[in-house]
């Protein structure tokens, strides 16, 4: 990777957004602790074998009736285990998206129908959805990829001059008929990934396509 590309990657990674993983507030942490037994059982069913987790929570104005936590643990060999847990505020069943178990993770987690179904269940009962603006549709797409373990880095119009070779995100066919969201993820690693995600009028993800564009 060239120094310029590395700098760009760092800069994009640090660019602020409305959606981010942060430390949960005390009340949000308590909401997770209150369902510790249920979440523990779920983790065991998914083959996780840890008791002590570091917790982050996804912050986004799009989601108001759920908590979305990322749990991270590291074993004595330094292997990372990581999972996303979705809890409905009304006490509905907890759901889990596995990201890594002892350092190994499923490939192409974003395309797993189970993860799409968990996302679709999540958006069913959210008052801020379906989105009304292009930027919210883009953030919804970003939200899905975050659930599946990605941290997409998206070049916005204001910053496009810094990375003119990366296509700008595009949102078409706005609600009520749903939306198609396309953007390129500057992963900060080796490749550019083009995502095309099709949402229906209820913000459910109906199709997702991943294309690797080029080696940097």
């Amino acid at each position: 990777m060239s120094p310029a590309a590395a700098l760009l990657g760092l800069w994009l990674a640090a660019s602020p957004g409305l959606l981010f993983w942060g430390r949960p507030a005390a009340a949000d942490y308590a909401a997770l602790q209150a369902r510790q037994a249920e979440v523990g059982r779920l983790l065991a069913w998914y083959t996780y074998a840890y008791a002590h987790w570091n917790v982050h929570e996804l912050q986004t104005p799009l989601i108001q009736r759920h908590h979305i936590y990322k749990l991270l643990a590291r074993d004595s060999n330094g292997r990372v285990s990581e999972a996303v847990v979705v809890l409905a505020n009304d006490g509905g069943a907890a759901r889990l998206i596995p990201l890594q178990v002892a350092g190994l993770g499923p490939e192409l987690n974003e395309l797993d129908p189970h993860n799409i179904a968990i996302f679709n269940a999540l958006v069913e009962d959210e008052p801020a959805l379906p989105p009304h603006t292009s930027s919210d549709w883009l953030e919804l797409a970003e939200l899905y990829l975050n659930l599946a373990g990605d941290l997409p880095q998206i070049v916005t119009a204001e910053r496009h001059s810094l990375a003119p070779h990366i296509p700008l995100p595009r949102v078409s066919a706005i609600a009520p008929a749903g939306a198609v969201v396309e953007f390129t993820d500057y992963e900060g690693q080796k490749v550019l990934i083009h995502w095309r995600m099709e949402f229906d009028a209820a913000a459910r993800l109906r199709h997702i396509n991943r294309t690797q564009l080029e080696e940097k």
């Binding site: 779920l42 065991a44 069913w45 998914y46 083959t47 074998a49 069943a93 889990l96 596995p98 178990v101 002892a102 350092g103 190994l104 993770g105 499923p106 490939e107 797993d112 129908p113 189970h114 993860n115 799409i116 179904a117 679709n120 269940a121 459910r204 109906r206």
Partner: protein, 203 residues
């Protein structure tokens, strides 16, 4: 008050005994299974929609799995133009679960190794009566799991071995399954997917 735990144990033992004699088999769903599906149609419709499968309309093929290990659930395989999937319906009112096997015209790459499917199986069997008590029982659980995830059983015989702590490993053709003493699948390895053994993870 003491009768019920014993009754459950007897039922579990009976299920285990019967399982030893009958491998899981898919057959066209009969009236009781279709009635159960009809009773849970609303929950099933919502679940199927989240997976982007078309609503059940009566034209699809519905098969039921005959296995003595499932006393509290019914497993149905749905084969439709929109895809192929397995529904797990609770006879006691718990929420249904779904295992996707194919979407559109394509089969999903490796359903037995999907961590979600492992979790569905673990939750399913935790709610069932029987527990494996001998090596052949563990083989039958693996056979059941492969049936639920759409994988044909390998032509060779399964090779189960049990540990001192009640845990077990079943090697079967290209597959290896690790079970905890409590009956949870804790790891699935498919030959060619590396030695580390995470389901679906290549090293």
């Amino acid at each position: 008050m003491r009768f019920w735990p014993r009754a459950i144990l007897v039922c579990g033992a009976a299920a285990a005994l019967a399982a030893a004699q009958s491998p899981p088999r898919w057959a066209p769903a009969a009236a009781p299974e279709r009635a159960l599906l009809a009773r849970q149609s609303r929950q099933v419709a919502a679940l199927v929609d989240r997976y982007d499968y078309a609503p059940l309309g009566g034209t699809e093929v519905v098969l039921a799995l005959a296995t003595p290990w499932l006393q509290r659930h019914t497993a149905l395989e749905v084969q439709a133009a929109a895809g192929r999937y397995v529904l797990l319906l609770s006879r006691q009112g718990a929420a249904p679960a779904l295992i996707p096997l194919g979407q559109g015209g394509r089969l999903l790459p490796n359903p037995p190794a999907d961590l979600h499917n492992i979790a569905v199986f673990n939750a399913l069997m935790a709610a069932e009566l029987g527990r494996p008590s001998k090596p052949s029982d563990w083989s039958e659980w693996v056979e059941l799991y492969l049936a639920l995830t759409g994988a044909p059983p390998p032509a060779t015989a399964p090779q189960p071995s049990t540990g001192n702590l009640g845990d077990a490993v079943v090697a079967w053709g290209p597959w290896q399954f690790w079970f905890s003493a409590s009956g949870l699948i804790i790891r699935v390895r498919l030959a060619g997917f590396g030695a580390g053994g995470l389901a679906g993870g290549k090293e």
